[in-house]
């Protein structure tokens, strides 16, 4: 059962020659063969790999969301328009992954074009949650989160625009770490909303996320919005005490969150026990974020998806699914003459207010903490007739996405009856992934919610 190894364990055991790479691959590929037809997690599988024991990721099998262009490996973004698209080039992040010795074991299902929070908009069928197959995995990086949860890979890559990594991580009981916007390159990724898209690790532990982020972060001349800021060693804050850190808890008094909050609130006690201070703080109503994000994202989508047609991608714009059509068209409207002031410009102003609101909170608190999603993974079919499903689902994450702030979701509660999880969302100021990792790692190591750790 070597597929159950965490990334850190696998690297260490390969380094000590305790295990063989081919045995890890065999177990991972077997678990894919066992489970993929039921859960619909991978769209494409790659069984070829090279021994790369001299490199940091050692040839380990990594799952990659199907919106990263991978040279000569079909990349669909779960859309029919791209169903035959074989990229002629490699995304920067997957190139970095390969350079570090990571091998792509397969491309994972997602909401088509990353439009959604359930995988139900995928034009290749929804993914089921491996923790409980009556439920959805969340999305849009639902396939990657599910691949991690089901041990059908050692670690995974996803992308987040507003919640697309953290929300599926919460629903699948895994770790999702969205870095600061600009920390990871967007080059070669089927764009959704260019001003917030952030390639991110989805992993079994916080430690794994830090390791993987080390290898995919950094400036990229091919992506003008990627930052030239120096990339620290993200593993440095692992195991570091959180004594005297100030933690602000937000979104605790929102309507509709009562049930999840009752389970979540007691989990904050561990921070006090570890010597941090925990205070309830007031952030601007995230309901405004829903409006802002809807407009900003639809607008950017309409522009980004304008390039897709049969001239270059074989299949025409008539193959767009309902959700993509809706988003492209609404975004066209919010950007069009006579409406842009009312919708687009207004939203960008409220966006500024929300960012300032968070920045003010970060003057008092080192990190902000909230629930990741308003509740447990929803049942199959939950998105039907819900035009705003994703926005409401990701409401608690949208401000941090619109502002570019880094954040992680870690499992913070497990319901024995349904085998489903709640996630805790930990956010920090720009470029302070180190704080996110420090607090998330301390939480994970001092509680028993992570299903790969044996802490108690």
């Amino acid at each position: 059962m070597l597929n159950k190894l965490t990334l850190k364990q696998a690297i260490d055991k390969l380094g000590n020659k305790e295990v063989k790479l081919e045995d890890i691959w065999l177990d991972v590929l077997n678990s894919i063969k066992d489970k993929n037809s039921k859960f619909n997690i991978y769209l494409n599988i790659n069984e070829k790999y090279q021994d790369q024991l001299n490199k940091p990721l050692k040839g380990l099998p990594i799952a990659v969301k199907d919106n990263f262009c991978t040279k000569d490996l079909i990349t669909t973004a779960s859309s029919l328009l791209l169903k035959d698209f074989k990229p002629q080039f490699e995304s920067t992040v997957t190139q970095k992954l390969k350079d570090a010795g990571g091998e792509i074991v397969g491309k994972t299902n997602m909401d088509a074009w990353a439009h959604g929070s359930s995988t139900e908009t995928s034009q290749f069928g929804r993914t089921l949650n491996p923790r409980n197959s009556e439920h959805l995995p969340g999305g849009s990086s639902g396939g990657s989160a599910a691949a991690v949860a089901a041990d059908m890979c050692i670690a995974a890559l996803g992308t987040e625009t507003a919640g697309s990594v953290r929300q599926p991580a919460a629903w699948c009981g895994v770790v999702g770490l969205k870095p600061t916007y600009g920390r990871t390159s967007r080059y070669g990724i089927a764009a959704m909303a260019s001003s917030t898209d952030s390639p991110s690790p989805i992993t079994k532990t916080v430690e794994d996320a830090a390791i993987l982020l080390n290898h995919i972060a950094g400036h990229d001349p091919l992506n003008a919005t990627s930052s030239t800021k120096e990339v620290p060693d993200f593993t440095e804050n692992l195991g570091k005490s959180i004594k005297d850190l100030k933690i602000g808890v937000i979104y605790h008094d929102l309507k509709g969150l009562e049930d999840a909050w009752a389970l979540f609130a007691p989990q904050l006690d561990i921070f006090t026990k570890l010597g941090a201070s925990v205070e309830y703080a007031q952030a601007m109503d995230p309901k405004h974020a829903v409006g802002v994000y809807t407009v900003v994202q639809r607008s950017e989508v309409s522009s980004n998806l304008a390039r897709f047609d049969d001239v270059r991608y074989q299949h025409g714009r008539d193959t767009f699914g309902d959700e993509a059509k809706r988003r492209i068209m609404l975004g066209t409207h919010t950007l069009s003459k006579g409406y842009a002031d009312q919708y687009y410009n207004m939203s960008q102003q409220v966006r500024t207010m929300m960012i300032k609101d968070y920045e003010k909170l970060f003057e008092t608190y080192d990190v902000l903490v909230s629930l990741t999603s308003p509740g447990f993974a929803k049942k199959i079919g939950a998105t039907e007739g819900e035009a705003m499903f994703g926005e409401l689902e990701d409401m608690l994450l949208e401000v941090s996405s619109l502002g570019g702030f880094p954040g992680a979701s870690v499992p913070c509660y497990h319901d024995k009856k349904t085998n489903l999880y709640l996630g805790m969302n930990i956010m920090a100021p720009m470029w302070r992934e180190d704080l996110v990792i420090q607090v998330a790692d301390a939480f994970e190591k001092n509680t028993h919610w992570n299903s790969w750790r044996n802490n108690d």
Binding site: A224, Y313, M346
Partner: protein, 101 residues
């Protein structure tokens, strides 16, 4: 309540966005868009007077590169055409775009 978006407007948007839709879809989308824009309209209550817009959060400005050919990032003609639906003599074939309804 009056719908913010009617069938006519949907038709116009579809044309701008180059999205083929059926007349049944026009009706559904008009309802859908109106519902979504109701949520967006709540922003009108926020006082945004004098607030700057945020288009991006990196603080980066005017990123340029040297005007040099990067051969590593070039496609051969064959590669560039690899995913095209129709080609002719090494070119993309496209529908006529001007003078059409």
């Amino acid at each position: 309540m009056k719908q913010a978006v009617n069938k006519q407007l949907v038709k116009h948007i579809a044309q701008l966005a180059n999205i083929p839709i059926s007349s049944q879809e026009e009706e559904e989308l008009a309802k859908d868009f109106s519902k979504t824009l109701e949520v967006v309209d709540k922003l009108q209550k926020v006082d945004t007077k004098g607030v700057e817009m945020t288009h991006q959060v990196t603080g980066l400005t005017n990123i340029t590169r040297e005007d040099e050919v990067n051969e590593k990032n070039m496609f051969t003609q064959k590669e560039a055409l690899a995913n095209a639906s129709r080609t002719h003599d090494g070119f993309f074939v496209v529908e006529r775009l001007i003078d059409v309804e």
